[in-house]
Symmetry: C2
Subunit: 335 residues, 2 copies
């Protein structure tokens, strides 16, 4: 069994080494935080996408550009940062001009939408892959880290869970959805996720912790719990499903997608109960499409980071090993 | 014929798009420059290295870590910036622990030597490749861009030229060097280049323009000339050769390596004659191993960016097409 990428990173790269005073937050959160002056810090995050590992080799270049950008942007959302700069390293097997045209058109469309600038990168020949390094700014307010969750916090997610995994299953022909509109919706949720950048900014200074759901709800929540040294109670009946997934006949599969499907790029955050009443107003004032949020559980005192599941208030036993998150070292890999 | 990476980048990514006020210098130089406050700016540069394209597939992981770091650091040197932060995206075909141990040991050794911090990155499975995004700081003084060369400037290079290309040819068994010490020296110059970070910092605020020699002396000088809208006179008899290359019997090959071999990671810079007398003193005060410099030509008025070659003061004709620089889309590629 391959180690997960988390083990790998922490084992080899999370060493005690030279510590710079201007690095406020290094490896281990959604972004690093670099301070350049008292009231302004830079949030930095890097993502690599490899053909056949993170996306299907025949992906439309517009979908690829869109998704690579959104995945990277989602890390800034989870930090509550204002998007600013992008570096793009693009490795291509050959120079395919229509491909590049479509790819770059979509990339620049997204950059403009978020008032961002491409500041550099590298272009090389090799097996198709992309590495994006995004940078955002945090002014005055603290940034949404993973380590601030407190006992009693509500656990919230934005939007709905599991749609992206369902869309991927449809694309891979491992499930069939008869309703055409539902099918299109789920595929779109997989190919065109939406980074919750405005919600992240709104939550900055208010939420105690946040993460974007890239690996799967449980897996990402676990990162918050481990970093915050807390446990969680999760109420399964509260998990937010889209109408398309709600009507899907295999409920157990839908639950698995919601808990561990990954690539939803919704935000999971924890918030003190005293602020729960202002959330609705806060989210309504966000720019961009309207996004709802759902309280799915509560942070509890548990040093070991354990998650306990409930259904309609009754504890249920779930094997965590059956619902572990998305592993970039496995998914999409062809036999 | 594939387009060179320069054409590719400028064609697809150097568009007029959203312009941020805090981006002082975007795509097209060694680093982007980002301003976060009046007197402090950030220099950013990204490099990708792909197995079989930028390095031999059986490279020692210590050599790979060293070289990837130095190539990326060299961009900061060419900007005169103080090294600060590194993001590393590592794509690996499998998890090979001894490989990772050796690779990360060398990376951290270099990070410590330059008082830098690894601030993040990504680890994914796929064909072996690395993308490094380095960031450095520029305080007060302007940064060494490519566009400031002026008529009358001396054209200088640090160290010696062509050694790295000779070392690569030895590794690829396309040339034979009988002297064992020379052979080892040339291979080392290829595998263990030295970014001229201290010299770059010393030149900041003094040199009119600078670039690091990654693609080949002529190719990189051409970038300065194009950006500065000047021409150059180059005196071939002044090109600095190492003792190992000076004694190599095929003088024409040695010249080709020096002009276009690439991967020397020396600095090429232009300097007003009024400052030439302080160069020696300036370089002697640099930290790190002693590095000499050589004046190899002069910037002349020529809007078209033409390079004219001389040997012992007499003009010689050289076909530029025969000496074009290192192309990342060709080198190392196996049949």
């Amino acid at each position: 069994m391959p180690r997960s990428e988390f083990d790998l990173i922490s084992r080899y790269f999370n060493r005690k080494s030279f510590i710079r005073e201007d690095v406020e937050l290094g490896i281990g959160d959604d972004c690093a935080l670099l301070s350049t002056e008292k009231k302004r810090r830079i949030a930095v995050s890097t993502d690599t996408l490899v053909s056949g590992v993170h996306f299907l080799p025949d992906i439309d270049p517009a979908d690829l550009a869109y998704k690579a950008f959104m995945i990277n942007l989602s890390d800034l959302a989870a930090m509550g940062a204002e998007p600013a700069w992008l570096s793009l390293a693009l490795t291509l097997p050959r120079i395919d001009e229509p491909w590049l045209q479509t790819f770059s058109d979509m990339l620049f469309e997204q950059l403009e939408a978020y008032r961002m600038q491409l500041i550099g990168g590298d272009t090389t020949r090799g097996p198709l892959s992309l590495t994006l390094t995004i940078q955002g700014l945090l002014i005055e307010k603290g940034g949404l880290t993973r380590s601030g969750a407190k006992k009693g916090d509500g656990i919230y997610v934005t939007g709905t869970l599991g749609d992206s995994a369902a869309g991927l299953a449809i694309l891979k022909n491992t499930v069939t959805i008869s309703d055409e509109a539902d099918k299109r919706f789920l595929i779109k949720r997989h190919l065109r996720p939406q980074a919750r950048i405005f919600q992240g900014k709104a939550l900055n200074g208010l939420a105690h912790s946040a993460i974007d759901i890239s690996d799967g709800f449980i897996s990402d929540l676990q990162h918050i719990l481990n970093a915050s040294q807390c446990g969680a109670h999760i109420e399964l009946s509260q998990l937010p499903y889209s109408p398309a997934l709600k009507t899907y006949s295999n409920h157990e599969q839908a639950l698995r997608w919601a808990l561990s499907g990954g690539e939803d790029y919704e935000l999971c955050f924890t918030l003190s109960p005293q602020y729960s009443h202002i959330l609705e107003n806060l989210f309504q004032r966000c720019r961009g499409p309207e996004v709802f949020y759902t309280k799915v559980g509560e942070v509890v005192s548990d040093f070991s980071g354990k998650i306990t599941f409930f259904r309609d208030g009754e504890p249920v036993s779930m094997k965590i090993s059956n619902i572990t998150g998305y592993d970039h070292f496995d998914t999409y890999r062809r036999e």
